[in-house]
């Protein structure tokens, strides 16, 4: 393993490591545009030049491998001069778009200019004008003038997605990125183009002009889009009037995790956050009066639910109650549900496996056919197979053998269709707990509003059996509550139930009681998650 010196610090790295990566290990940042840790190296931008002792010229640090006893300098006047010249060269034709550029605030070029150049323009001629606001398909917009022709987007499509979508056309200062004539980009990974583009040339239609990057707060989370459990960062605002009124969550960006999503995120998940602030969010508890719903408070709704469940259990026994939870809920929510129904009420009919739950459309890269983030967690918690299956429950609801049905975030009508609709409308007591209005919610007698993934703390177990943590970024909308809290409040009215005050307390209990979670704590899960079980099936 070669040992080299970078700026008077010694470091030993693997054979074949590049100078840039070795410097990164020492915490020395070398500026670069075209280099990306997960794409091939092309040394196109010349921004990463460094001085190597005894080398006749400056060398590109992104593509030159280290040698034993190499002596590298990253901050000599010669290197600084080179960086300044490269930036001046790039900025000759760069438009003064920062005020209206979505990338401003997180733009590599902007940052490098202030850090390494800060010199006024000396260019007196007219700038080369290129195409602005070029439509690249349903999701992306290109601004050729802002492009620094690093080629990362071209390589991303070719190497990661495996499609030839983009190319560099023309030469010299007329070089432009573009799609092939008559073609648009259609794949499911376009959002990553915004992340790989070091400047504001590629912008997402979903985020375009909605908010400025510096007005957004960030919290680590897990994408709730499918059972892959990609690590993500949610960008949200606490100011009620930034951007579009009523919108709090603005985007999801990927977080690096080599074992799960590398550094990518698919578009289904990335742009699937809109339900959080959508108009159909359930924000207050509601009770059905005749044909309509009337707003209620938590007290009334929980009293109604508790007394309804109690009556059914007392009169007809626990087998007259059915529970269908959703694998959208966190482990904590599901554990609290299990405590309530199987320990307190002794209900055996709990099954989350609605038919067709895992019949979405997946792909080879990240997206899984099962569009639920916690299916594996629900399996590990034993929320299936203890009593009747979800489908059988529907039949029994229809025949009247099951009188009370509790839907915790699940929507049987969506998966089973008309049959479920007919069954649900015959139920004596139908309780719907969830975040958004749905076809099943319409038939409920009591509606309990739950919190979405950005509004509660908890854990998801992805398809690999990896336990990962989501964090609370925002307060639940309106009067909604985290699902474990609803079960806790309900539990108190139904019998001896632990009084949980936070999700972590639920997790501690779960870690004591449920085998795969034994000995775990939120600290042990860490930002990258921890594998607790094998993949499902």
């Amino acid at each position: 393993m070669p040992t080299l010196t970078i700026d008077d610090q010694q470091v030993t790295v693997d054979q074949g490591t590049t100078i840039l990566e070795a410097a990164k290990k020492l915490g020395i940042a070398i500026p670069h545009f075209c280099y990306h840790p997960r794409l091939t190296k092309v040394d196109a931008c010349r921004m990463c030049l460094v001085e190597v002792k005894d080398a006749p010229k400056l060398v590109t640090s992104c593509s030159n491998a280290v040698r034993d006893n190499m002596v590298v300098f990253t901050g000599t006047p010669k290197v600084e001069e080179a960086r300044k010249s490269i930036l001046e060269f790039i900025l000759i034709n760069h438009p003064l778009d920062c005020p209206i550029c979505d990338k401003a605030g997180e733009c590599t070029l902007q940052d490098y200019y202030f850090r390494y150049s800060s010199q006024p323009s000396r260019f007196k001629d007219n700038k080369v004008e290129k195409h602005k606001v070029v439509d690249l398909g349903a999701k992306m917009v290109l601004d050729s003038e802002r492009c620094v022709v690093c080629g990362r987007c071209v390589r991303f499509c070719r190497e990661v997605v495996g499609e030839e979508n983009l190319g560099i056309f023309n030469r010299g200062d007329h070089s432009e990125i573009g799609t092939y004539p008559g073609k648009k980009i259609e794949h499911n990974y376009q959002g990553n183009l915004v992340d790989v583009c070091p400047v504001g040339a590629l912008t997402a239609k979903d985020f375009r002009f909605k908010c400025r990057s510096w007005l957004l707060c960030k919290a680590d989370t897990i994408c709730p889009g499918c059972s892959n459990g990609c690590n993500a960062v949610v960008h949200f605002t606490l100011r009620s009037f930034n951007g579009i009124k009523g919108q709090r969550v603005f985007r999801l960006t990927p977080r690096e995790n080599n074992d799960v999503n590398k550094i990518w995120l698919c578009d289904v998940g990335r742009w699937g956050y809109s339900f959080v602030d959508s108009i159909d969010r359930l924000t207050t508890p509601a009770l059905k009066k005749g044909e309509d719903f009337v707003k209620g408070d938590w007290d009334t709704a929980l009293r109604e639910t508790a007394s309804g469940l109690k009556t059914v259990v007392e009169r007809y026994g626990p087998s007259a109650v059915g529970v269908i939870p959703s694998p959208h809920l966190t482990n904590e929510d599901l554990y609290a549900l299990k405590c309530l129904f199987s320990c307190v009420l002794k209900v055996a009919n709990i099954d989350f496996k609605l038919p067709g739950l895992d019949k979405g459309e997946g792909d080879k890269l990240l997206l899984k056919a099962d569009r639920h983030p916690n299916t594996r967690g629900a399996e590990l918690l034993g929320l299936s197979g203890t009593g009747l299956s979800a489908e059988a429950m529907m039949e029994k609801v229809k025949t009247g053998e099951i009188r009370a049905l509790y839907l915790a975030g699940s929507d049987p009508v969506k998966y089973i269709g008309e049959k479920a609709e007919e069954a649900l409308s015959r139920a004596e007591l139908l309780i719907f707990q969830g975040t958004n209005f749905s076809a099943s919610c319409k038939l409920a007698h009591v509606i309990l509003p739950g919190a979405t993934f950005v509004e509660k703390e908890g854990t998801f177990t992805n398809y690999q059996g990896r336990l990962q943590k989501i964090n609370k970024a925002l307060e639940p909308l309106g009067e909604a509550l985290a699902d474990w809290e609803i079960f806790t409040r309900l539990g108190k009215r139904l019998g001896a139930y632990p009084s949980y005050r936070c999700a972590e307390e639920v997790f501690k209990d779960m870690a004591r009681e449920v085998a795969p979670f034994n000995g775990l704590s939120y600290q042990k899960i860490g930002p990258q998650g921890i594998k607790i079980a094998d993949s499902s099936q």
């Binding site: 005020p99 209206i100 602005k132 606001v133």
Partner: protein
Amino acid sequence: MKIVGHNLTTKESFYFFEIAKGLWITSRHFIYNMYFHIAHLLGKYPEVPAAVTIQYPEEKIPLSRRWRGRHRINARPDGSPRCVACMLCETVCPVQCIHIVAGEHPDPAIEKYPVSFEIDVTRCCWCGMCEEACPVDALYMDTGKNPEPGFSREDLLYRKEQLVKEMPLPGCQRSLNAPGQGPMEANPLGL
């Protein structure tokens, strides 16, 4: 902390002399001002000033060119606002009273424009930072107007449709382009 005490002299402690002295000063100013006000009415001694107060609202102090009055948004020749909805004023505003919703302009050369632009003057503290932050020739506080009272909060929410119609106070214009016109010959401030 220093406490400055003042012990009354014997003369002051009688009060009577002090009251008489105060009355004398007041009457002297009263008679002087009245004499010259009447004289001015008769056209005499116009060069001698009477009372030092400004006779507002008949008379107004000339405003400084830097005076910060009500906001306005400079207009393009077609009457649309020059604002590009960069939200820098919204960002810098210390009381967060500017609310902008941006949209895609049909002209790619303009690209971004404010679909709605509101300044909540009930919260504005007239610091002028929004004017300084504006990177284009759009937001100015050179109208020379004070905020007017309103009957509802709605009246005090200045929107882009209204802001773009405001004009700068003659002689105090701080924008490079006159509202609705192309570039001026010279910078109005002589900068």
